[in-house]
Protein backbone atom coordinates (compact mmCIF):
# COMPACT_ATOMS: atom_id res chain seq x y z
CA UNK A 1 0.00 0.00 0.00
CA UNK A 2 1.37 3.40 -0.95
CA UNK A 3 1.47 5.94 1.87
CA UNK A 4 0.01 9.34 1.28
CA UNK A 5 2.99 11.66 0.68
CA UNK A 6 1.50 14.22 3.02
CA UNK A 7 1.30 11.90 6.01
CA UNK A 8 4.85 12.52 7.14
CA UNK A 9 4.31 16.29 7.11
CA UNK A 10 1.26 16.32 9.33
CA UNK A 11 3.13 16.88 12.61
CA UNK A 12 5.00 19.81 11.14
CA UNK A 13 1.69 21.18 9.91
CA UNK A 14 0.21 20.79 13.36
CA UNK A 15 3.20 22.56 14.94
CA UNK A 16 3.01 25.44 12.48
CA UNK A 17 6.38 24.63 11.00
CA UNK A 18 5.49 24.27 7.34
CA UNK A 19 6.33 27.04 4.91
CA UNK A 20 3.36 29.12 3.85
CA UNK A 21 2.98 27.57 0.40
CA UNK A 22 3.20 24.04 1.78
CA UNK A 23 0.66 24.77 4.47
CA UNK A 24 -1.81 26.02 1.86
CA UNK A 25 -1.20 22.97 -0.31
CA UNK A 26 -1.71 20.62 2.63
CA UNK A 27 -4.89 22.37 3.71
CA UNK A 28 -6.26 21.93 0.21
CA UNK A 29 -5.33 18.26 0.40
CA UNK A 30 -7.05 17.86 3.77
CA UNK A 31 -10.33 19.08 2.30
CA UNK A 32 -10.44 16.04 0.06
CA UNK A 33 -8.54 13.41 2.11
CA UNK A 34 -10.53 11.95 4.96
CA UNK A 35 -7.65 9.74 6.08
CA UNK A 36 -5.21 12.63 6.52
CA UNK A 37 -7.87 14.70 8.25
CA UNK A 38 -8.41 11.89 10.71
CA UNK A 39 -4.68 11.61 11.35
CA UNK A 40 -4.38 15.35 11.97
CA UNK A 41 -7.24 15.16 14.40
CA UNK A 42 -5.61 12.23 16.21
CA UNK A 43 -2.22 13.90 16.33
CA UNK A 44 -3.80 17.01 17.78
CA UNK A 45 -5.32 14.87 20.52
CA UNK A 46 -1.99 13.17 21.19
CA UNK A 47 -0.38 16.56 21.71
CA UNK A 48 -3.22 17.66 23.96
CA UNK A 49 -2.96 14.43 25.91
CA UNK A 50 0.78 14.86 26.37
CA UNK A 51 0.29 18.35 27.75
CA UNK A 52 -2.18 17.21 30.34
CA UNK A 53 -0.25 14.29 31.77
CA UNK A 54 -0.20 14.30 35.53
CA UNK A 55 2.97 14.55 37.57
CA UNK A 56 2.37 12.80 40.87
CA UNK A 57 5.16 13.09 43.43
CA UNK A 58 7.34 10.04 44.02
CA UNK A 59 5.82 7.34 46.17
CA UNK A 60 8.88 7.39 48.39
CA UNK A 61 10.00 10.76 49.68
CA UNK A 62 13.43 11.36 48.20
CA UNK A 63 14.30 14.24 50.49
CA UNK A 64 15.92 12.26 53.32
CA UNK A 65 18.38 10.74 50.83
CA UNK A 66 19.07 14.10 49.24
CA UNK A 67 19.50 15.76 52.62
CA UNK A 68 22.00 13.12 53.62
CA UNK A 69 23.97 13.59 50.41
CA UNK A 70 24.14 17.36 50.69
CA UNK A 71 25.00 17.18 54.37
CA UNK A 72 21.77 18.72 55.54
CA UNK A 73 20.74 16.75 58.57
CA UNK A 74 17.54 17.47 60.39
CA UNK A 75 18.34 20.41 62.65
CA UNK A 76 18.22 19.86 66.38
CA UNK A 77 17.26 22.42 68.95
CA UNK A 78 20.75 22.51 70.33
CA UNK A 79 22.41 22.92 66.97
CA UNK A 80 24.80 25.76 66.90
CA UNK A 81 24.96 28.01 63.88
CA UNK A 82 28.66 27.75 63.28
CA UNK A 83 29.96 30.69 61.33
CA UNK A 84 33.26 29.61 59.91
CA UNK A 85 36.12 32.00 60.20
CA UNK A 86 36.43 33.93 56.97
CA UNK A 87 39.56 35.45 55.65
CA UNK A 88 38.13 38.95 55.86
CA UNK A 89 36.32 38.55 59.10
CA UNK A 90 38.56 38.50 62.09
CA UNK A 91 35.97 37.77 64.70
CA UNK A 92 34.23 34.44 64.93
CA UNK A 93 30.52 34.52 65.62
CA UNK A 94 28.50 31.52 66.62
CA UNK A 95 24.92 31.58 67.73
CA UNK A 96 22.51 28.89 68.70
CA UNK A 97 18.95 29.09 67.47
CA UNK A 98 17.75 29.82 71.01
CA UNK A 99 20.19 32.69 71.18
CA UNK A 100 18.94 34.06 67.89
CA UNK A 101 15.35 33.61 68.96
CA UNK A 102 16.10 35.52 72.11
CA UNK A 103 17.88 38.18 70.11
CA UNK A 104 14.82 38.49 67.91
CA UNK A 105 12.63 38.96 70.91
CA UNK A 106 14.98 41.60 72.19
CA UNK A 107 14.86 43.41 68.86
CA UNK A 108 11.09 43.37 69.02
CA UNK A 109 11.23 44.90 72.44
CA UNK A 110 13.60 47.60 71.37
CA UNK A 111 11.50 48.39 68.33
CA UNK A 112 8.39 48.82 70.39
CA UNK A 113 7.00 45.36 69.66
CA UNK A 114 5.22 43.17 72.10
CA UNK A 115 7.14 42.45 75.23
CA UNK A 116 5.84 38.96 75.12
CA UNK A 117 7.78 37.57 78.00
CA UNK A 118 6.50 40.16 80.48
CA UNK A 119 2.80 39.44 80.55
CA UNK A 120 0.19 36.71 80.52
CA UNK A 121 0.10 33.36 82.17
CA UNK A 122 0.13 31.54 78.87
CA UNK A 123 3.11 33.51 77.78
CA UNK A 124 4.76 32.86 81.10
CA UNK A 125 4.46 29.16 80.50
CA UNK A 126 6.28 29.61 77.24
CA UNK A 127 8.88 31.95 78.61
CA UNK A 128 9.91 29.99 81.64
CA UNK A 129 12.14 27.72 79.65
CA UNK A 130 12.45 25.00 78.59
CA UNK A 131 9.55 25.42 76.18
CA UNK A 132 7.57 23.35 75.46
CA UNK A 133 8.11 20.29 77.61
CA UNK A 134 8.51 18.16 74.50
CA UNK A 135 9.55 20.53 71.77
CA UNK A 136 9.17 19.34 68.21
CA UNK A 137 12.36 18.40 66.53
CA UNK A 138 14.14 21.45 65.26
CA UNK A 139 12.35 23.82 67.58
CA UNK A 140 14.56 25.91 69.82
CA UNK A 141 13.75 26.28 73.47
CA UNK A 142 13.58 30.00 74.13
CA UNK A 143 15.48 31.14 77.13
CA UNK A 144 14.87 34.64 78.33
CA UNK A 145 18.01 34.56 80.38
CA UNK A 146 20.01 34.61 77.14
CA UNK A 147 18.18 37.56 75.68
CA UNK A 148 20.36 40.57 76.46
CA UNK A 149 23.67 38.94 75.62
CA UNK A 150 22.36 37.26 72.52
CA UNK A 151 20.80 40.45 71.30
CA UNK A 152 23.96 42.43 71.83
CA UNK A 153 26.13 39.76 70.25
CA UNK A 154 23.86 39.46 67.23
CA UNK A 155 23.74 43.19 66.69
CA UNK A 156 27.51 43.37 67.09
CA UNK A 157 28.04 40.54 64.62
CA UNK A 158 25.77 42.14 62.05
CA UNK A 159 27.41 45.52 62.54
CA UNK A 160 30.87 44.03 62.25
CA UNK A 161 30.07 42.20 59.03
CA UNK A 162 28.27 45.21 57.59
CA UNK A 163 31.33 47.29 58.35
CA UNK A 164 33.59 44.82 56.52
CA UNK A 165 31.20 44.87 53.60
CA UNK A 166 30.92 48.66 53.57
CA UNK A 167 34.71 49.02 53.69
CA UNK A 168 35.11 46.63 50.80
CA UNK A 169 32.16 47.85 48.76
CA UNK A 170 34.36 49.76 46.35
CA UNK A 171 36.38 46.64 45.61
CA UNK A 172 33.38 44.65 44.47
CA UNK A 173 31.73 44.58 41.10
CA UNK A 174 28.69 46.87 41.09
CA UNK A 175 26.42 44.05 39.96
CA UNK A 176 27.62 41.94 42.85
CA UNK A 177 26.95 44.77 45.27
CA UNK A 178 23.51 45.31 43.82
CA UNK A 179 22.61 41.64 44.12
CA UNK A 180 23.87 41.43 47.68
CA UNK A 181 21.91 44.52 48.62
CA UNK A 182 18.75 43.20 47.00
CA UNK A 183 19.05 39.95 48.85
CA UNK A 184 19.81 41.63 52.15
CA UNK A 185 16.78 43.85 51.63
CA UNK A 186 14.63 40.77 51.00
CA UNK A 187 15.84 39.17 54.21
CA UNK A 188 15.33 42.41 56.14
CA UNK A 189 11.77 42.51 54.85
CA UNK A 190 11.27 38.93 56.01
CA UNK A 191 12.63 39.82 59.44
CA UNK A 192 10.34 42.83 59.65
CA UNK A 193 7.35 40.72 58.61
CA UNK A 194 8.17 38.10 61.22
CA UNK A 195 8.49 40.80 63.85
CA UNK A 196 5.14 42.28 62.85
CA UNK A 197 3.54 38.85 63.03
CA UNK A 198 5.02 38.37 66.48
CA UNK A 199 3.53 41.67 67.57
CA UNK A 200 0.16 40.03 67.11
CA UNK A 201 1.09 36.60 68.40
CA UNK A 202 4.15 36.99 70.52
CA UNK A 203 4.06 33.54 72.11
CA UNK A 204 3.94 31.74 68.78
CA UNK A 205 6.83 29.32 68.85
CA UNK A 206 6.84 28.88 65.07
CA UNK A 207 7.11 32.60 64.49
CA UNK A 208 9.90 32.89 67.01
CA UNK A 209 11.77 30.07 65.32
CA UNK A 210 11.13 31.56 61.89
CA UNK A 211 12.45 34.92 63.04
CA UNK A 212 15.53 33.30 64.49
CA UNK A 213 16.20 31.37 61.31
CA UNK A 214 15.72 34.45 59.17
CA UNK A 215 18.15 36.37 61.34
CA UNK A 216 20.61 33.54 60.94
CA UNK A 217 20.21 33.75 57.17
CA UNK A 218 21.07 37.40 57.29
CA UNK A 219 24.21 36.57 59.23
CA UNK A 220 25.10 33.82 56.75
CA UNK A 221 24.61 36.10 53.79
CA UNK A 222 26.62 38.90 55.38
CA UNK A 223 29.38 36.51 56.30
CA UNK A 224 29.65 35.15 52.79
CA UNK A 225 29.34 38.56 51.20
CA UNK A 226 32.12 39.86 53.44
CA UNK A 227 34.27 36.95 52.34
CA UNK A 228 33.98 38.17 48.76
CA UNK A 229 35.84 41.38 49.55
CA UNK A 230 39.32 40.87 48.11
CA UNK A 231 42.28 41.07 50.43
CA UNK A 232 44.26 44.21 49.66
Amino acid sequence: MTQDPWTNRLSEYLDGELPEWERHALESHLESCAECSLVVSDLRRVVRRARTLKNPPPVTDLWPGIAARIGAGIPKAQDVVDLDAQRRVRRRWAFSLPQLAAAGIALMTVSGGAVWFMSGAARQSVVSAPVPSSPPEGTPAVSVAMKPNASQSYAAAVADLERVLADGRGKLDTTTVRIIEQNLAAIDRAIAEAQRALDADSANLYLNTHLAETMRRKLDLLRQAAALVPVS
Binding site: N8, L53, P58, R69, P75, D173, N183
Partner: protein
Protein backbone atom coordinates in the same frame (compact mmCIF):
# COMPACT_ATOMS: atom_id res chain seq x y z
CA UNK B 1 31.44 40.21 37.43
CA UNK B 2 32.92 38.85 40.62
CA UNK B 3 32.26 35.17 40.99
CA UNK B 4 29.77 34.84 43.76
CA UNK B 5 30.79 31.94 45.90
CA UNK B 6 27.47 32.19 47.63
CA UNK B 7 25.64 31.87 44.35
CA UNK B 8 23.49 34.85 44.99
CA UNK B 9 20.87 35.24 42.34
CA UNK B 10 19.00 38.35 41.46
CA UNK B 11 15.66 38.12 43.13
CA UNK B 12 12.87 38.05 40.62
CA UNK B 13 9.94 40.35 41.11
CA UNK B 14 6.53 39.60 39.72
CA UNK B 15 4.57 42.40 38.09
CA UNK B 16 2.70 42.83 41.35
CA UNK B 17 5.96 43.73 43.07
CA UNK B 18 5.99 40.53 45.07
CA UNK B 19 9.19 38.60 45.19
CA UNK B 20 9.22 35.22 43.49
CA UNK B 21 9.40 32.73 46.38
CA UNK B 22 11.51 30.34 44.31
CA UNK B 23 14.08 33.05 43.68
CA UNK B 24 14.23 33.88 47.37
CA UNK B 25 14.62 30.23 48.28
CA UNK B 26 17.24 29.74 45.59
CA UNK B 27 19.18 32.63 47.04
CA UNK B 28 18.90 31.29 50.55
CA UNK B 29 19.77 27.78 49.41
CA UNK B 30 22.81 29.07 47.58
CA UNK B 31 24.01 30.52 50.83
CA UNK B 32 23.71 27.10 52.44
CA UNK B 33 20.15 27.11 53.71
CA UNK B 34 19.00 23.49 53.40
CA UNK B 35 15.48 24.35 54.55
CA UNK B 36 15.07 26.71 51.62
CA UNK B 37 16.38 24.01 49.32
CA UNK B 38 13.90 21.54 50.75
CA UNK B 39 11.10 23.96 49.88
CA UNK B 40 12.40 24.09 46.32
CA UNK B 41 12.53 20.31 46.28
CA UNK B 42 8.93 20.01 47.49
CA UNK B 43 7.75 22.46 44.86
CA UNK B 44 9.54 20.96 41.91
CA UNK B 45 9.92 17.27 42.63
CA UNK B 46 6.65 16.17 40.95
CA UNK B 47 7.61 17.68 37.60
CA UNK B 48 11.24 16.60 37.80
CA UNK B 49 10.22 13.12 38.84
CA UNK B 50 7.75 12.93 35.98
CA UNK B 51 10.47 13.88 33.54
CA UNK B 52 12.84 11.24 34.88
CA UNK B 53 10.13 8.59 34.96
CA UNK B 54 9.26 9.20 31.33
CA UNK B 55 12.82 9.34 30.11
CA UNK B 56 14.35 6.42 31.99
CA UNK B 57 13.49 2.92 33.08
CA UNK B 58 11.87 2.33 36.45
CA UNK B 59 15.00 0.97 38.08
CA UNK B 60 16.87 4.24 37.82
CA UNK B 61 14.17 6.80 38.50
CA UNK B 62 14.55 7.42 42.23
CA UNK B 63 18.31 7.46 42.07
CA UNK B 64 18.46 9.82 39.12
CA UNK B 65 15.86 12.14 40.61
CA UNK B 66 17.99 12.34 43.75
CA UNK B 67 21.07 12.96 41.62
CA UNK B 68 19.32 15.87 39.96
CA UNK B 69 18.57 17.63 43.21
CA UNK B 70 22.04 16.95 44.59
CA UNK B 71 23.51 18.37 41.39
CA UNK B 72 21.20 21.36 41.66
CA UNK B 73 22.41 21.99 45.20
CA UNK B 74 26.00 21.86 43.99
CA UNK B 75 25.28 24.12 41.03
CA UNK B 76 23.15 26.74 42.77
CA UNK B 77 26.05 29.13 42.48
CA UNK B 78 25.54 29.19 38.73
CA UNK B 79 21.87 30.12 38.97
CA UNK B 80 21.69 33.84 38.25
CA UNK B 81 17.96 34.27 38.24
CA UNK B 82 17.93 35.13 34.55
CA UNK B 83 15.32 32.42 34.01
CA UNK B 84 12.80 31.02 36.46
CA UNK B 85 14.31 28.57 38.90
CA UNK B 86 12.05 25.81 37.57
CA UNK B 87 13.35 26.36 34.05
CA UNK B 88 16.94 26.25 35.24
CA UNK B 89 16.29 23.12 37.27
CA UNK B 90 14.54 21.42 34.39
CA UNK B 91 17.38 22.01 32.00
CA UNK B 92 19.80 20.68 34.58
CA UNK B 93 17.56 17.65 35.02
CA UNK B 94 17.61 16.93 31.30
CA UNK B 95 21.40 17.10 31.30
CA UNK B 96 21.65 14.70 34.23
CA UNK B 97 19.23 12.28 32.58
CA UNK B 98 21.06 12.34 29.28
CA UNK B 99 24.38 11.83 31.02
CA UNK B 100 22.90 8.85 32.82
CA UNK B 101 21.68 7.40 29.57
CA UNK B 102 25.15 7.72 28.15
CA UNK B 103 26.58 6.00 31.19
CA UNK B 104 24.13 3.16 30.89
CA UNK B 105 24.87 2.85 27.21
CA UNK B 106 21.25 3.13 26.27
CA UNK B 107 21.79 5.32 23.28
CA UNK B 108 22.01 2.35 20.99
CA UNK B 109 19.86 2.34 17.90
CA UNK B 110 17.75 5.14 19.21
CA UNK B 111 17.32 7.10 16.07
CA UNK B 112 16.47 4.32 13.72
CA UNK B 113 14.80 5.17 10.50
CA UNK B 114 11.84 3.32 9.14
CA UNK B 115 8.70 2.13 10.82
CA UNK B 116 10.22 0.30 13.75
CA UNK B 117 8.64 2.72 16.21
CA UNK B 118 5.18 2.05 14.92
CA UNK B 119 5.67 -1.66 15.20
CA UNK B 120 6.94 -1.62 18.77
CA UNK B 121 3.92 0.07 20.30
CA UNK B 122 0.99 -2.29 20.13
CA UNK B 123 -2.43 -0.80 19.81
CA UNK B 124 -4.90 -1.11 22.66
CA UNK B 125 -7.84 0.96 21.66
CA UNK B 126 -10.75 1.34 24.01
CA UNK B 127 -9.38 -0.40 27.05
CA UNK B 128 -10.54 0.73 30.50
CA UNK B 129 -7.18 2.07 31.67
CA UNK B 130 -6.56 4.44 28.82
CA UNK B 131 -4.61 7.09 30.68
CA UNK B 132 -2.24 4.48 32.04
CA UNK B 133 -2.08 2.94 28.59
CA UNK B 134 -0.93 6.20 27.13
CA UNK B 135 1.94 6.43 29.63
CA UNK B 136 2.70 2.76 29.13
CA UNK B 137 2.73 3.26 25.39
CA UNK B 138 5.18 6.13 25.83
CA UNK B 139 7.43 3.82 27.80
CA UNK B 140 7.44 1.37 24.95
CA UNK B 141 8.60 3.87 22.40
CA UNK B 142 12.22 3.42 21.36
CA UNK B 143 14.47 5.67 23.44
CA UNK B 144 15.11 8.23 20.73
CA UNK B 145 11.47 8.75 19.84
CA UNK B 146 10.50 8.79 23.50
CA UNK B 147 13.11 11.40 24.38
CA UNK B 148 12.01 13.69 21.59
CA UNK B 149 8.31 13.20 22.33
CA UNK B 150 8.74 13.85 26.06
CA UNK B 151 10.94 16.87 25.54
CA UNK B 152 8.76 18.40 22.82
CA UNK B 153 5.18 17.51 23.58
CA UNK B 154 5.30 16.97 27.33
CA UNK B 155 7.99 19.43 28.39
CA UNK B 156 7.57 22.03 25.69
CA UNK B 157 11.08 22.29 24.30
CA UNK B 158 11.53 23.40 20.69
CA UNK B 159 13.12 21.19 18.06
CA UNK B 160 16.17 23.42 17.91
CA UNK B 161 16.71 23.04 21.65
CA UNK B 162 16.14 19.30 21.52
CA UNK B 163 18.50 18.90 18.62
CA UNK B 164 21.17 20.77 20.56
CA UNK B 165 20.61 18.78 23.74
CA UNK B 166 20.59 15.42 22.00
CA UNK B 167 23.17 16.16 19.36
CA UNK B 168 20.77 15.60 16.49
CA UNK B 169 19.82 17.33 13.30
CA UNK B 170 16.62 19.32 13.71
CA UNK B 171 15.05 17.24 10.95
CA UNK B 172 15.78 14.05 12.88
CA UNK B 173 14.06 15.49 15.92
CA UNK B 174 11.01 16.33 13.82
CA UNK B 175 10.83 12.91 12.21
CA UNK B 176 11.21 11.13 15.56
CA UNK B 177 8.44 13.24 17.01
CA UNK B 178 6.11 12.43 14.16
CA UNK B 179 6.80 8.72 14.48
CA UNK B 180 6.16 8.83 18.20
CA UNK B 181 2.88 10.68 17.71
CA UNK B 182 1.76 8.28 15.02
CA UNK B 183 2.43 5.35 17.35
CA UNK B 184 0.70 6.97 20.29
CA UNK B 185 -2.46 7.91 18.40
CA UNK B 186 -3.41 4.26 18.67
CA UNK B 187 -3.71 4.75 22.43
CA UNK B 188 -6.12 7.64 22.46
CA UNK B 189 -9.47 7.35 24.14
CA UNK B 190 -12.23 7.00 21.60
Amino acid sequence: MTELGLGVATLEHEPTGRTDPDAVDATLAASGDASAFERLYRTHVPKVYGLVRRMLSDDDVDEVAQDIFVRAWQKLGTFRGEAAFGTWLHRLAVNVILARRETLGTRRKRYVEGDMVLETVPSRRATPEMSMDFEAAMERLPDGAREVFVLHDVEGYRHEEIAQMLGLATGTSKSQLHRARMALRQHLER
